[in-house]
């Protein structure tokens, strides 16, 4: 399972990954870590995270600017509240919360991203495979 992909959904104003990515948006240092840039982390739909999981991604990293500092005023706060279930629309209960990592990093914090991402990728790949959709875990 070590080749499972991890998708990063990132705000283009948060930590600058251009120098560590190839043209396809894959981080060179970490195999199978892909980056999708959005104008603001507030644009990330919980549906996008669910779609990535359904398509077989091992995990999703959500990255925005430092909380409190959003170019568009509130975007990173919005997505944080959605991930925490404090603001609709939220993530489905079936999404394994262990497989979602949120990082709030400003533009110069590239190294912090790489170290956190490496740790996270290694962690989600050793997690047991998610149960097939038929066997839904009991709702909490």
């Amino acid at each position: 399972m070590s080749e499972q992909k991890v998708i990063t959904l990132i705000c283009e104003r948060a930590c600058d990954l251009d120098s560590v990515c190839n043209e396809q948006g894959e981080v060179k240092e970490v195999d199978g870590l892909h980056v999708v840039k959005l104008p603001c982390s507030g644009m990330i739909q919980p549906l996008m995270i669910e779609a990535a999981m359904k398509a077989g991604a091992a995990g999703v990293i959500v990255t925005g600017c430092q909380i409190g500092d959003c170019y568009y005023r509130e975007g990173n706060r919005m997505i944080r509240e959605r991930l925490l279930g404090q603001r609709p629309p939220g993530l489905k209960k079936t999404v394994d919360r262990q497989r979602v990592l949120a990082l709030w990093l400003s533009r110069p914090q590239k190294d912090r991203f790489l170290s956190e991402a490496k740790e996270f990728v290694a962690f989600v790949r050793q997690l047991p495979a998610p149960p097939p959709p038929a066997a839904k875990p009991a709702a909490k």
């Binding site: 195999d31 739909q45 996008m48 398509a55 509130e74 629309p89």
Partner: protein, 387 residues
Amino acid sequence: MYTSIPKGLTDLTLAIEKGTNAVISNRYNPFYYHGALPQFYLWVLFLSGLLLFAYYIPTIDNAYFSANLVNAWTSVDYITGKLPMGAVVRGVHRYAGDAMVITIVLHALRVWVTDRYRQYRWVQWISGIVLLLMVLFIGQTGYYLVWDERSLVLTRMTVSACEALPIIGPGLKAWFLNGSAITNLTLSNFLFIHIGLSFTLLFGLWVHYVRMTRPVITPPPAINYMLMAVLLLVVFAYPITSGKMADINSAPTSFDIDWFFLFPYWLMAKVDLTTYWVLMIGATVGLCLVPLPSLYKAAAPIEAAEVVLTKCVGCSLCANDCPYQAIEMVPAPAGSRFKLLATVKPYRCSGCGVCVGACAFDAIDLPNLLDSDVTAQIRAMAEAKPN
């Protein structure tokens, strides 16, 4: 992004803010409340001003008390010398004004450095400049009100500056003095300008905030206490002293300058009045032109979000989350299954996509980045075979 600002400056700001976050956490980082700081000092000024107003007498002499002269200067002297805590309230009023100018300038600087002043934000920038000018003028009228020798010099300098203006000059002078010469009516006019314009600030602030959803106008209490502590520290370290009482028959020529409010008078003393007005008006117009589109290179033009009319269910989630009040819920057309329909005001839209993230029905889209394309890209990446 950040195209017209030196990159090092932005990175420096981000680095300082990151360091501050590490020390006091982002909840209490004053950099994230930069717009709310002057607002806090405004409340301090309103409250301390109300206390001063109770004892202030806006006259230059008072015939009814001829045995014992009572005028603006003696009332201020009474507040400072006799009234319990009067000197503290006066000091708070004076230094909170200075602090307000400092925080406004820092606010404007951060907004400029982080590139948050243009395009859909031009209303905030222009109204901010108008507010700053109003604050400066209100502060200057505060210096006329104490009616010491400095007040007299400042009043005379302002009159000569007004007279130098063509056409509106004489009228402006008559309005400023409330007559043709300095009389008791002049001081009541100053008090009216000082207080009336202060309340007009609230209208200006409404214009400043109207395009923002949930404007941050109140710092957390911890920051308020800190701001107040700094203020009181200055009040006790540098107590306010009045100058000599103004005498209309004398002609004082020099005075101590408060650089936060009185720098225009420093300029006025250095250059002739025509140059003075050209410089002042030029600086104001120049500041107003900072968000002019031709002065910066936009990375990509903003394309306003578009509602997919067939999918919108009128749930208002996007309108609630839009940070710029750009989405309005209107009654849905007749025959629709839903009561409301989202509409986008394109001139307010920043193209940030927060509404896309808020929509659970795929009913709103950025034309240059469809969320269906993003989802397709994510799927393709997740499913791709390792090479």
